[in-house]
Assembly symmetry: C2
DNA sequence: TCTCCTGATGGCAGTTACTGACATGGTCAA
DNA sequence: TTGACCATGTCAGTAACTGCCATCAGGAGA
């Protein structure tokens, strides 16, 4: 028998999600979170660099999954399509966790401190995608723009996916957003690409 | 003669920029900043909600200037062009402060805590631009995408402007980035818009 | 079986960001 | 001259975060 309950990180994360939802971020102390998880404040700070980070554990693997998909995209893909291939690779993952994603997004949306952390994680993702695109021979500026435009598409598509009463896939919403970005950039009366 | 030295906010901001540059963000306390500005910690927190905010004072007026320019853009402009008209409206402002902008950007780039704050300010700007575009009759999703794509252009253009040894204007770099985004979205062999 | 080492956890003291309540004292209008 | 004003100061308190050392079950080796 193990000396300690397993999965301390998971318990802390779960406790934090609950408490932030119940009382709000500012009104829950790290001690509260640790206590609900059956641990102490000190242990919390061994797993997470700060109070915000508790909702963002595992984002590294997430980035890796996306970057791998960018690398694996067909050579002929445009930079934007390669970036989107990365985001589409998360569709199955999210499909299994729609309810959880909704809760988590609601908590984050309600707390600017958490939004800040989410934004910097997304920019780290953008930087990783930019690097992956550069590996593919895309120029630095084009890679940045494709990565950031891809992120804009992801943000809009993800939001619509969360709200979608019909439960259509993330891929569906990403592609819709992609078409819309094209229209917005090129203009309504533009000739479409060959 | 005034009872107190004038421009407390400016002195605090200047002191903070200096100290963050000299010792780094983490190693300068709010008390340090206040002392260099000839004030106390308590007064610092009357002007700024937290330690990070000291580098972001006045961002409201900044947003207002951009949103006004978006509103003033020609009716016929595409959503993206209207958003970019907003960003171009800052070109003269920045032209006068290139050296300051470089210092400030260097300090922010060196400190993730400050990047987080900058990102959330930029997202607030995106939200304001989105609202302004919706006022113009642009659909919600298109407005979001145009605002975020505009921001991507701004970020890339601004970075190039900072580094530009030839000191070309921000407008120049924004337009270059805009062209590049179009290429990235539509694809290299695409037909250009009429 | 004994022993030693490892590794997750706890305890504790210290620093600093931030807040609320109240005090101070030039300045300026009446 | 006076009194209200208001930017600033003082002080005490909470909570985020850190460094250092203690604890102690379990596994490896003797």
């Amino acid at each position: 028998m193990a000396r300690w309950e397993p999965n301390a990180i998971g318990r802390l994360t779960e406790a934090a999600m609950q408490l932030f939802g119940e009382r709000g971020y500012a009104k829950t102390t790290v001690e509260d979170i640790a206590a609900r998880a059956g641990l102490t404040e000190r242990t919390f700070f061994r797993y997470f660099t700060d109070k915000r980070e508790v909702l963002f554990a595992g984002s590294d693997q997430f980035v890796k999954q996306i970057v791998d998909a960018v690398r694996a995209a067909p050579k002929a893909s445009t930079p934007l399509d390669a970036a989107l291939a990365g985001h589409e690779a998360t569709s199955d993952f999210f499909a299994q966790r729609r309810a959880f994603a909704r809760k988590r997004s609601a908590v984050i949306a309600a707390h600017p401190e958490l939004q800040e952390r989410e934004l910097i994680k997304l920019m780290a993702l953008a930087a990783a995608i930019t690097a992956a695109l550069e590996e593919r021979g895309v120029s630095s500026a084009a890679a940045s723009l494709a990565a950031e435009a891809g992120l804009a598409i992801f943000r809009v598509g993800f939001e619509h996916w969360l709200k979608d009463a019909k439960n259509r896939s993330l891929v569906f919403h990403l592609r819709a957003a992609r078409r819309q970005l094209e229209a917005v950039v090129v203009g309504p009366r533009a000739t479409r690409r060959a």
